[in-house]
């Protein structure tokens, strides 16, 4: 019944490919057990699962709109909470309390080492109270069937968040953890704070952490910090911002943890969280090397959720920054790029990054939304400079209007020198749409496009033919040169390319050289269906 309830609650977030399978299973259940299905339907879905309902369009000032309300099912894992108190007792040098907590743990989880003596009595009282509260209130997370089979490591127990929020020791506990922040405290202490502190305490802790900026430990794992936050659905802005932006370009690439942090901040963090998320996305590093496997469009679920939430909120500022920093998750449906649709999602799945969710918004529409945000020029320039490195900038260049390339001829021409036919085709497509951008160097552009005409890739060759016509029309000084390059291309044999060349030649006034005329006649005679119509006006001229 719990499974039925949870599946029903999360069904809207499944991809269209998977949804029918579960719909069928749910229908079977309703038919077989109508009573239980009805009972399950009457109860509130309580699972702490990723995105349970689509977030409606809302303003950026109401970031959490559309999310399920925090209810009695939210709260950290009880086992995690117990281990946290155990480690805090160790760090606070409270051997007796440490021993007591140790005894309350499963044998496999117990500490073999005891701390030295010397801790403070008030700290012992605070931690003992916390320990007691955890023991008293721990229970099985609502909505989860305890009899269902699961892995040994999965913890289905939890401590309700309301208990931690209203605990009388909450203030003292926050003071203790703030006192413990030091050079060597590492991320473990922040993870402890994320597990057991109240919201107010966590805010204070985050500010203190940001002020002292302790270094990360060599074995620190971001998941220990983010998992309890995801379970509790809270986003301590100061803490997350401090941890994920503190050193250089960390994280070097969009790691899953980084994306989870951005998602927590943006979706749950309110205005301050949004501001922090903007700052983090704006620091997302550009690729440095050519890597055919890093296309910069595949992202983890949390980042897809962030960008989808931004799209639903019509948050042009964040999306514009994401475009500029190549942090837009998208996938291809035929020749159409779509922004991936993903409901709010904060947990770590362990799956590889990918963006093909099956549903999404046309990327062209997203681009239109962000155009007024004033970052198009920077995005186009960044994309031109890095078109060789990955796919995303090339996709964005296709979205940009011809005016966006004005004055960027010096950045467009290097694309035509690329050894990668896809990059070459992108450059040629730009010239085809915006030939005016190379007003200072049209001759070079024609030479490069003429060379591309003989490419063994028909896509690039056809783009070259279009670009030559556009250049010839836009710049009178190179019209003859463009016409001559097209005439040379008549020695090619691929029919689609020849058709593109003939169409381009039709657009340019020029005198056909003798051998070109002969070749055109030959083509027309060889395959009238393909060439006759295109050839006639050329021969007549």
């Amino acid at each position: 019944m719990a499974l039925y309830r949870n599946l029903s609650a999360t069904l809207s977030s499944w991809s269209p490919k998977l949804k029918p399978y579960f719909e069928r299973a749910l229908a079977d259940y309703r038919q077989t057990y109508p009573g239980e299905a009805e009972q399950a339907g009457q109860e509130t879905p309580v699972i702490a699962a990723p995105g349970t309902s689509p977030a409606p369009a809302a303003s950026a000032t109401a970031p959490a709109a559309g999310l399920p309300a925090r209810d009695d099912s939210t709260g950290p894992s009880a086992q995690r909470a117990l281990l946290t108190v155990l480690r805090l007792a160790f760090d606070a040098r409270l051997p007796r309390l440490h021993a007591t907590i140790n005894d309350s743990l499963d044998k496999l989880l117990r500490d073999r080492e005891a701390p030295e003596d010397g801790g403070r009595a008030d700290d012992a009282n605070t931690l003992a109270a916390l320990h007691q509260v955890i023991l008293e209130h721990r229970g099985t997370r609502p909505g989860i069937d305890p009899k269902a089979s699961r892995s040994l490591v999965e913890d289905i127990t939890y401590v309700p968040d309301r208990v931690l929020e209203s605990a009388p020791f909450a203030g003292a506990l926050a003071d203790l953890l703030i006192r413990m922040i030091g050079e060597k405290s590492g991320l473990r202490l922040a993870a402890a704070a994320a597990t057991v502190l109240s919201r107010e305490g966590l805010d204070r802790f985050g500010e203190a952490w940001a002020a002292r900026s302790p270094a990360r430990g060599p074995h620190d794992d971001d998941r220990n910090l983010l998992d309890p936050l995801a379970q509790r659905r809270i986003a301590p802005v100061a803490l997350l911002r401090s941890i994920f932006t503190q050193s250089g370009e960390h994280p070097v690439e969009l790691t899953e943890s980084w994306q989870r942090a951005v998602a927590l901040l943006y979706v749950l963090g309110g205005d301050a969280g949004r501001t922090a998320a903007l700052a983090m996305v704006a620091r997302h590093p550009y690729p440095k090397e050519v890597n055919e496997y890093a296309n910069r469009r595949d992202f983890y679920d949390p980042h897809q959720a962030t960008m989808w939430a931004a799209w639903e909120r019509r948050d042009a500022e964040l999306l514009a920054i994401a475009f500029e920093r190549f942090a837009i998750p998208y996938f291809w449906k035929g020749s159409k790029a779509l922004l991936s649709k993903r409901e709010p999602f904060f947990i770590s799945t362990g799956y590889a990054a990918r963006s093909d969710t099956g549903e999404g918004a046309p990327l062209a529409d997203v681009w239109k939304l962000v155009e007024p945000a004033g970052r198009v020029a920077a995005t186009v320039r960044a994309s031109l400079q890095r078109a060789e490195l990955c796919e995303a900038p090339r996709t964005f260049l296709e979205l940009a209007s011809p005016e966006a390339f004005s004055g960027l001829g010096d950045d467009v021409l290097p694309l035509l020198e690329s050894s990668n036919p896809t990059v070459l085709a992108t450059g040629l497509a730009i010239l085809g749409r915006a030939p005016a951008c190379v007003a200072d160097r049209p001759g070079e552009a024609v030479t490069l496009a003429g060379r591309a005409l003989t490419s063994t890739r028909s896509g690039a060759a056809k783009e070259a033919a279009v670009a030559l016509a556009a250049l010839g029309n836009a710049h009178a000084s190179v019209r003859a040169q463009a016409f001559s390059a097209l005439a040379d291309g008549l020695a090619l044999e691929a029919a689609p390319v020849l058709q593109a060349i003939l169409k381009s030649m039709k657009q340019l006034p020029g005198k056909l050289p003798g051998d070109a005329r002969q070749r055109i006649v030959e083509l027309s005679n060889a395959d009238p269906a393909k060439f006759e119509k295109l050839v006639k006006p050329l021969l007549a001229a």
Binding site: V290, E388, L389, S419, T456, A491, L492, E493
Partner: protein, 429 residues
């Protein structure tokens, strides 16, 4: 054969300098120079990289077997050579005088260079707008690789791979039919091939060499007239298999002014030299892609009679002193090529000193069944002469009876009679 590659840092593009990390275990080869045409240099090296990687698939087990390209620095040019994983393709980039400017701090020799993904990434970012230079040096600025500056790799190279590398030298020196191909003509064939997948045999390219050369793509029988190409020589028909390897020329084709193709006959290897001005890229293809150079071709058997020890030593001394020879004892030079001590450049007709192995060369290839039979005939004094009759040949065996052998095109390599006679003549000399 075990080869050790030891690099200090990794090759890569460092702002405007292409830094190539040489093998620390080899000759202290050095080079500093400007690159006259960075785009041609880039495309030629990228094409060489494609040759190194070319195989239908590369399994993780086979990757360590890859040998990084060899660089040979000589007074008359710099050569990069590589052999494909499947032993069917050979690539050579030649930087002739004029390709490099402002040469300084040069030390001639031969070594491996690190051909890492970082270098490929750097090469792909080269553009014409700024001057570029090439540096091969053991010291200097070191580009870190995975956070480490030094690394050493031991590679177990199959003997067939090493012998194949040497057999190419023998094949390069053989007489051939030469077609001067226009890039657009080859581009038409490649574009046609790229758009189709053959599902049945035959899968050859049939070149009809004559005043108006043509090529037919099987099995579709699509004929392309090579309008802008030329051929000077007796009319001939040559069939080439493993044609998709020609797509390895894709990167250099747009910059090539012409392609000189040397055919060694139907079923024989072919050599495709793309002329990029002062840079050339040579692609050597074995008869077909599933046929490595050493299986039965035995190109060394076509070489002139091997020189005696003293002539060999004398020629080697002269070559290593002068580094380049335009002429000399051809037999000895051919023998040195097969020993990995020399390299023949068919474009200039010169031999260059080049030491493929830092230690001893691999053992000579074991005798094939045909060679064993030939040895037996030789021991019994059976083969006395051979006469050609049309496209067949006739061997006079023991003065009593004649043996008619198959076609003279030697699609399967030389027959036992030819091998026996060749050895007889060689030993007599």
């Amino acid at each position: 054969m075990e080869t050790i590659l030891s690099y200090l840092g990794a090759s890569g593009l460092d702002t405007d300098v292409v830094r190539l990390a040489p093998n620390q275990r080899r000759d202290p080869t050095r080079l500093h120079a400007g690159i006259a045409d960075p785009l041609c240099f880039r495309d030629a090296l990228l094409a060489l990289h494609d040759v190194v990687r070319s195989e239908l698939f590369v399994s993780p087990e086979e990757i360590p077997r890859r040998l990084d390209p060899l660089i040979t620095v000589t007074p008359e040019g710099v050569f990069f050579e590589a052999f494909s994983l499947d032993e069917s393709s050979y690539g050579r980039v030649a930087l002739r005088p004029g390709a490099l400017t402002g040469l300084r701090d040069t030390s001639y020799g031969c070594t491996n260079i690190d051909f890492s993904p970082g270098l490929v990434s750097g090469l792909r970012q080269i553009r014409s707008g700024r001057p570029m230079s090439l540096e091969v040096a053991r010291e200097g600025i070191v580009v870190e690789h995975d956070g480490r500056q030094d690394r050493e790799v031991k590679i177990e190279l199959p003997d067939s791979w090493m012998r194949g590398f040497l057999e190419v030298q023998a094949a390069l020196g053989l007489p051939s039919q030469t077609l001067t191909l226009a890039p657009i003509d080859l581009g038409n064939v490649l574009a046609y091939l790229r758009g189709r997948k053959e599902k049945e045999s035959p899968r050859g390219l049939v070149f009809e060499l004559g005043p108006s050369p043509k090529v037919t793509v099987e099995p579709w029988d699509q004929t392309f007239v090579l309008r802008k190409s030329s051929y000077e020589g007796p009319p001939a028909t040559v069939k080439v298999w493993g044609r998709r390897r020609l797509l390895l020329l894709d990167k250099v084709l747009p910059r090539a002014s012409q392609i000189r193709v040397r055919f060694l006959g139907t079923g024989g290897p072919s050599f495709w030299t793309c002329d990029l001005g002062s840079i050339s890229f040579l692609l050597g293809m074995s008869a077909w892609s599933a046929r490595e150079w050493t299986s039965s071709d035995c190109f060394r058997l076509f070489e002139p009679p091997a020189a005696n020890e003293s002539s060999l030593a004398r020629t080697l001394a002269t070559l290593e002193e002068r580094l380049v020879l335009a002429d000399g004892d051809r037999a000895a030079l051919g023998q040195l090529c097969l020993l990995g001590r020399a390299m023949f450049d068919p474009e200039t007709g010169r031999w260059f000193a080049r030491r493929v192995f830092s230690e001893n060369p691999p053992d000579p290839a074991p005798m094939t069944q045909r060679e064993r039979e030939a040895e037996q005939m030789l021991a019994l004094g059976q083969v006395q002469s051979i006469a050609t009759a049309g496209d067949r040949h006739e061997a006079l065996v023991k003065g009593r009876y004649h043996v008619m052998c198959g076609r003279m095109s030697l699609q399967r390599g030389p027959c036992k009679h030819l091998i026996a006679l060749h050895r007889k003549v060689t030993r007599a000399a």
